[in-house]
């Protein structure tokens, strides 16, 4: 009996491992974050870090319903601020970690992706992330409106930029609005959309749990090493703070 109880306690303590950091991350930033986590774990091999990847809106909704995340890396500044206002995180922890760039991308090479091509319907359907939940989708919606792309051009709505990319990559959609970081090394055709055409995508994060382990990793995100990885993935870092 006694060994059994011991085993049970061991399992429980492993389950309630305080050293495990659970991060909710917007789909566009999953790749750079994985690299940052790998780098961080070389310095702190005893800390376990797990990622949950989804759209910013979905993750914010999960956090409002008590999802046990320690850190939330959103693709906008709206959600982290809302959560802070609702008392769901450490209010002083909201910080911008990256500025994202929106691109229109197609796996087909030597396409001349530009406003005229988009308006003419020569490439269709065009995928974008759900504007209601995904900041990159919202930015794409702004671009479509700004360019006066007619309603006759079919659009396909993805859950987040990850699925938007998947729709184009599989060939099911002709092109997709995605984050520059997702496709900068993917070949194909790419139109880096002028930043004046959409409201800036300021990606902010919020720390949800006050613990030294979480703070340690969060600070690493803003260290020179962390920033180098972020820049290397095609983001800009704002030097405020």
């Amino acid at each position: 009996m006694r060994p059994l109880i011991g085993l049970l306690l061991l399992a429980l303590s492993a389950w309630a491992n305080a050293d495990r950091i659970q991060i909710a991350v917007a789909a566009n930033f999953a790749e750079p974050l994985r690299e940052i986590v790998a780098q961080y774990r070389q310095l702190h091999p005893d800390i376990d870090i797990a990622l949950t990847v989804a759209s910013t809106g979905k993750l914010a909704a999960q956090i409002r319903h008590g999802a046990p995340y320690d850190l939330f890396l959103a693709a906008d500044s709206r959600r982290p601020r809302e959560l802070a206002r609702e008392g769901l995180g450490l209010p002083d922890s909201v910080r911008s970690y990256a500025r994202g760039l929106l691109v229109l991308w197609s796996p087909q090479s030597d396409l001349m992706l530009d406003p005229d091509m988009l308006r003419s319907g020569a490439i269709q359907p065009v995928a974008l992330a759900n504007p209601r939940t995904a900041p990159y989708g919202l930015a794409a919606r702004f671009v479509l409106d700004d360019l006066a792309v007619p309603d006759s051009v079919p659009l396909v709505q993805a859950e987040n930029v990850g699925q938007s990319y998947h729709f184009a990559h599989s060939g099911a959609a002709a092109a997709a609005f995605v984050a520059y970081s997702q496709v900068r090394e993917q070949g194909g055709s790419l139109w880096l959309i002028p930043e004046a055409r959409y409201p800036a995508i300021i990606q902010q994060a919020i720390q949800l749990i006050d613990s030294p382990e979480v703070s340690g990793f969060y600070q690493f995100l803003f260290s020179d090493e962390g920033r180098a990885i972020i820049i290397n993935h095609g983001y800009q870092v704002t030097d405020a703070e």
Binding site: G57, A61, T133, P154, Q157, A158, F167, S170, A172, A173
Partner: protein, 227 residues
């Protein structure tokens, strides 16, 4: 009570379920027949393949279906014939996905019904010179109609409740591929709980009424003499 967009989504769901069930009844009748009344090599493998949607996660089906329906797969040239770029993100594409996904739910009740047919009557009718169509209309269908009704209701309800596959191959186009379950999911994701509550309630009540009707009908039929 519901917004126009949600009514439209509900209407797409109903159309999808209706077309899917109609196609499945046509496809599954001969399938159920050869499965229930013949023995042939490779049968177990075919049965296992057709039962796969019962156990496979919808994400697996959705992943493959997107490749098959897209312009680089067979969906590309079939879509071409219909003037579409591909079958992905289109209503016909959803129908194909739903037919695959709901097939076991229609096939199983039909198989059981056909396996329980009265052998003697069928043989006698054949001896008396009734053709296959005549035998089907005057003997098989009346005897198996409970099976047909169960198959149709289950297929309809299951397609109405479909979510994962549509999420992966639909693209959420209003009036085309945004079905009620996906519209609800998007309300929840966007934090629009008022609309989410309304649509969820409508779906819940509609599904309950449908199943209640089916079970009531079954009870009446099985207790009364309907043969």
């Amino acid at each position: 009570m519901l917004s126009n967009g949600d009514w439209l989504a509900l209407w797409v769901s109903i159309q999808l379920a209706f077309v899917t069930v109609l196609l499945l009844l046509l496809i599954c009748t001969p399938l159920a027949w050869v499965m229930a009344r013949r023995r042939w090599p490779g049968q177990a493998l075919l049965e296992a393949t057709l039962a796969l949607p019962l156990v496979l996660p919808p994400s697996v089906l959705g992943f493959y279906l997107l490749l098959l329906l897209g312009p680089n797969g067979p969906g590309g040239w079939i879509g071409d014939l219909a003037g579409l770029r591909s079958l992905a993100f289109s209503f016909p594409g959803l129908v194909i996905g739903s037919v695959v996904y709901s097939l076991p739910f229609v096939l199983q009740p039909l198989k059981n019904a056909i396996a329980n047919l009265e052998e003697d009557q069928l043989a006698m009718a054949a001896v008396c010179g009734a053709g296959p169509l005549d035998r089907f209309c005057s003997l098989v269908f009346p005897q198996a109609r409970l099976g047909y009704l169960s198959a149709a209701m289950l297929g309809f309800a299951h397609t109405l409740g479909e979510f994962g596959v549509v999420l992966m191959i639909g693209g959420s186009l209003p009036g085309e591929t945004r079905v009620a379950s996906v519209a609800l999911y998007e309300h929840v994701e966007a934090g629009d709980y008022a609309n989410a509550h309304r649509l969820a309630l409508v779906l819940l009540v509609a599904s309950l009424l449908m199943l209640w009707g089916l079970f009531r009908w079954q009870r009446q039929r099985t207790s009364g003499s309907w043969l």
